[in-house]
């Protein structure tokens, strides 16, 4: 297993956002995580990536290493890349610089040589810039390399966020609603890119998504969360039939219209 | 060359061009003044010094030469003072520098005027070290602290008595006042305090100490601290029954109006040392007070006013005595001539409470020219308080110097 969590729990005051989640993700898998609003999906990502501290008793093991409550940058360096729902790209920096920051952990020169501006620093900078330009072309943003990220369109920014995660050369790529706000055409394009990247870099992918089409078509296994608990897990076909899933979505007043429609239609 | 650097060069060029020297007016006597001006009356001190100097231009100048004054603020910051004096000397090519208010600014200025050989007159700074640097170019019109701190001690020990009780608060003003007085009494008369007590700045009730002091029956009650403490101690000293023949003397904060107002009737007889009082009855002083009242709208000018005025008068006197060529080539000679003219001033009777005398040697004896302080006494307390000059106290040139 590449990623395993056991009784991973997070409560905020009285509210249990993530409740004893056990998750096991195989190397090379594409896993979907779905659930109604507030079911704890993003909190789960934040726990795995070290943004939140897990409640005692929970455990996260990545690639055979216990990473429970490790610092986010440490977890990132071990090979866990994630995107954010709100993207959090560096708006004041160019597209190329965004990717270069993604590549930060793989740049091999020290602070002292950076201050002195040694030959090695310049050679390494040339190398990584070239490499990141290639990645930019791959995600189709090469023409915008120097553009400040804040001035890009929403679709370009989604791609850039993806590219920045890929620039980390991760083993595990965790995408938090990568298609939100995109037109159907752009959703397809994004999915293509994700799958192309997956095969190109041999990634394991976890996708949180509201657009069920995305998970149903892309993922081999789907995990369903509700009220912080895992209520179902299995291949897309089985999930569609699972009565607990249907209940979780349909039985709610304040749930997602699109999800309900999708379940009804299928 | 990187594009940024290409852009920078015009910026540098522009800046340096803008900073280029303004043409120096030939044939004028140029004086640079730097003072701390953005404080209560600061602007007026600067203005007065400038106007007093420039006043001669209306009546044909000094020996036919006009005075040009460059006035700058140094904000009591040494780096600003240094910048100003550099500017005076190198850019405006002044013949003389006046400055500054704060000792910490005058001090580095002395180093520069000594090195560049430009006469400097210090109007306000009192720190004793200013004239101890061995500079032949510095003159002080303020009363050096080595005299000032002992004005009351000298007068009271000679005229009132040597049994002194000390009550003071533990701030710098309070401690400084008491320590200076005590060390004067020890050095001069080998006399120890009859009573000594420190209180906190925030204390309100001093009566237990005052009761003890009463039982020692001292000649003098020395009160150190800020104005609140001074007013309270003065008042409470009467409440506990210390008789009025015991002379109350306080730190210099006592000169501030709130003290007689707060202390009320108890303020009568309270004394403090000063360099100048607007109640000074000499005609020269009253004329000056009237001038300040009319021109600068200040009812009771303090010693910073009087010393600014006095500095301008001394400078004019020296300029009139020096024979000046006022050409670029003669700048160094002219500066030297002005310095020598300043050093030649002897027994100048102006606003200062005693005569001002300078001499040629680069020593504090020669350059602390104003060696007279006054003792001021409140004659009436309350809102319409009044005071008078009780005594003038002059010191020997050597006073307060390590032998």
């Amino acid at each position: 297993m590449l990623l395993e969590t056991s009784s991973l729990t997070k409560s905020f005051g009285g509210l249990v956002a993530v409740d004893r989640i056990d998750l096991a993700i195989r190397k090379g898998e594409v896993r979907g995580i779905i659930g109604p609003n507030g079911s704890g999906k993003s909190t789960l990502f934040n726990l795995i990536s070290g943004v939140y501290r897990a409640d005692p008793g929970g455990k996260v093991v990545f690639d055979g290493r216990d990473i429970t409550n490790a610092d986010p940058h440490r977890i990132a360096r071990l090979g866990v890349a994630r995107t954010f729902q709100l993207l959090r790209i560096f708006g004041g920096m160019s597209a190329l610089e965004n990717l270069l920051i993604g590549h930060h952990g793989l740049i091999r020169y020290g602070t002292a040589s950076a201050i002195l501006g040694t030959r090695r620093v310049r050679a390494e900078e040339r190398r990584v810039r070239q490499e990141m330009m290639e990645l930019l072309s791959f995600i189709g943003l090469a023409d915008f390399a120097e553009m400040p990220a804040a001035e890009m369109s929403i679709g370009q920014r989604r791609l850039l966020a993806l590219g920045r995660a890929i620039a980390m050369r991760p083993k595990l790529l965790m995408l938090d609603e990568p298609a939100a706000g995109l037109s159907p055409v752009n959703v397809d394009k994004l999915l293509e890119t994700v799958l192309a990247l997956k095969s190109r870099y041999g990634l394991t992918v976890v996708i949180i998504e509201h657009i069920l089409k995305v998970v149903m078509e892309t993922c081999e296994t789907i995990t369903v969360l509700d009220h912080g608990e895992k209520i179902a897990e299995g291949p897309p076909a089985a999930i569609k039939e699972d009565h607990r899933v249907i209940e979780a979505y349909l039985g709610k007043e304040m749930d997602d219209a699109e999800v309900r429609e999708f379940l009804r239609a299928s | 060359m990187p594009s940024g650097m290409r852009l920078l060069l015009p910026v540098v060029a522009l800046g340096l061009g803008a900073a280029a020297a303004p043409a120096v007016a030939q044939d004028n006597i140029r004086v640079g003044i730097t003072l701390r001006m953005i404080v209560e009356n600061g602007l007026r001190y600067g203005q007065m010094t400038k106007e007093e100097l420039e006043a001669v231009n209306a009546t044909g100048g000094i020996n036919g030469k006009k005075i040009e004054v460059i006035l700058l603020d140094d904000e009591c910051k040494p780096d600003k003072g240094v910048a100003n004096v550099n500017r005076f000397i190198h850019q405006h090519k002044v013949h003389l520098v006046i400055g500054s208010t704060c000792s910490s600014v005058s001090m580095p200025m002395v180093d520069i005027t000594a090195k560049e050989e430009v006469p400097q007159v210090v109007p306000h700074s009192t720190n004793a070290n200013i004239t101890k640097k061995g500079s032949a170019w510095v003159f002080r019109t303020a009363v050096s602290e080595r005299f000032y701190a002992s004005v009351h001690a000298k007068y009271l020990s000679e005229n009132v008595g040597k049994k002194v009780a000390y009550l003071y608060t533990t701030d710098a003003a309070g401690i400084g006042f008491a320590k200076d007085y005590m060390s004067f009494m020890r050095k001069t008369y080998q006399t120890e305090p009859v009573y000594e007590a420190q209180m906190q700045e925030t204390d309100l009730d001093f009566r237990s100490h005052l009761l003890k002091i009463k039982s020692f029956n001292p000649d003098v009650l020395a009160i150190g601290g800020q104005l609140d403490a001074i007013a309270r101690i003065t008042q409470q000293s009467y409440e506990v029954g210390i008789p009025s023949r015991v002379r109350r003397v306080a730190a210099s904060a006592a000169s501030n109006a709130p003290v007689p107002e707060l202390a009320g009737d108890a303020a009568k007889g309270l004394t403090f040392a000063a360099a100048f009082s607007c109640k000074d009855e000499r005609p020269v002083a009253q004329q000056f007070v009237k001038l300040v009242q009319e021109k600068y709208k200040v009812r009771c000018p303090d010693h910073d006013f009087s010393q600014a005025y006095e500095t301008a008068q001394l400078v004019k006197l020296a300029l009139s005595r020096a024979s000046l060529k006022l050409t670029d080539a003669a700048l160094a000679d002219d500066r030297r001539a002005i310095r020598d003219a300043l050093a030649s001033i002897k027994d100048y009777h102006g606003l200062a409470s005693g005569p001002i005398s300078f001499c040629a040697e680069p020593t504090p004896q020669c350059r602390d020219g104003n060696r007279t302080g006054i003792l001021v006494e409140y004659t009436k307390g309350g809102k319409d308080y009044d005071m008078r000059v009780l005594a003038r106290v002059s010191f020997e040139p050597d006073f307060g110097l390590d032998k």
Binding site: V51, A76, F90, E97, A114, R164, M168 | G4, L7, M107
Partner: protein, 321 residues
């Protein structure tokens, strides 16, 4: 071409500058500009690039100045050893001033660093061994081959190479991965951490590197004729002037500190005669800059360059068509 070559050329080109200056006052102002460049470039690293709102920079300069003064007068080190030692001491102080940044940001960090800075200044004022409120005097000038460099013209040859070296270092660090990491933690520390940037480490690096600059500038100010330093030169007013340099020059612009230091120092000097209005004028400039020119002069220059490049591209394309 090695990137240091333009800087070496720069030093050579600027060598005769004192000879071109009409008088020693301008030589003095040039020295002050160069020292302010070192200060502002250092502040630009921590404030402009790493986005840490510090008000402690001026106190670090004070620490550099007083360390250098004590080491040269009481320990007897020559300037050439006192300066690097002061730089190192300032660096250590910078690490300490940086610690609050682990937990605080924005206005809270500004307040915390302000507290630290003021306590440094007050501690100096209260320490008689450091000259207290009177000031520390008789700090010796640098000596070269037995000759004191105590004129403004000769001191220029100490300040110029140091200032350009400091600029070179700042350029190479800001153009490297370290500089990008600074910007990333300014833009979004959480996203930076998710990209593998050790946020605390880079905050400390930013504070320490900028402190090295402040220490160097402090030492240079201390040894500049007449060799006198005073706590009044390290108050919040001076800090605001430094911030003005960085804001005016362009926050986060690689030339920001340099342009700001040059312009602010010169404008300040030219407006000395209007001391009554000076503070108000400077306050107004800050407000106007923040409102209408948030990226400072550096931002304007960038805009101009970008527009020119686009125009050139358009030209090429229309020629082709």
């Amino acid at each position: 071409m090695h990137p240091i070559v333009p800087w070496l050329i720069g030093i050579v080109v600027l060598l005769p500058l004192p000879l071109l200056m009409p008088n020693a006052y301008q030589q003095y102002i040039v020295n002050v500009i160069l020292i302010n460049i070192i200060l502002a470039v250092g502040l630009n690293i921590v404030k402009g690039f790493a986005g840490q709102v510090t008000v402690g920079h001026i106190a670090i300069a004070a620490i550099g100045a007083y360390s250098s003064a004590v080491l040269s007068t009481k320990v007897g080190l020559p300037f050439w050893l006192a300066l690097p030692s002061a730089v190192l001491i300032a660096g250590a102080a910078g690490a300490m001033i940086g610690i609050p940044s682990f937990r605080l940001e924005g206005a809270y960090l500004a307040l915390a660093t302000l507290g630290l800075a003021e306590s440094v200044r007050i501690a100096i004022s209260a320490t008689d061994a450091l000259g207290g409120a009177i000031g520390y005097q008789n700090i010796p000038p640098p000596f070269l081959f037995g000759q004191p460099l105590d004129t403004h013209a000769s001191y220029y040859y100490v300040v110029l190479p140091l200032a350009l070296t400091a600029m070179y270092f700042s350029f190479s660090i800001l153009r490297s991965d370290i500089g990008r990491a600074f910007k990333a933690l300014r833009e979004d520390p959480l996203a930076a951490a998710a990209c593998g940037v050790d946020v605390r480490r880079y905050k400390v690096i930013a504070f320490v590197v900028s402190a090295l600059y402040a220490g160097c500038a402090g030492s240079l100010l201390a040894h500049m004729s007449p060799g006198f330093i005073h706590p009044n030169s390290y108050t919040i007013t001076e800090m605001v002037t430094l911030l003005l340099m960085v804001v005016f020059g362009g926050i986060g612009h690689i030339w920001g500190g340099v342009i700001g230091a040059i312009l602010v120092t010169i404008i300040y000097d030219l407006t000395r005669d209007y001391y009554q209005y000076q503070m108000a004028m400077f306050g107004g400039v800050v407000v106007l800059t923040v409102l209408y020119m948030p990226k400072g002069i550096g931002g304007l220059i960038d805009q101009y360059l970008v527009r020119r490049r686009f125009n050139a591209i358009r030209q090429v394309k229309s020629n082709a068509a």
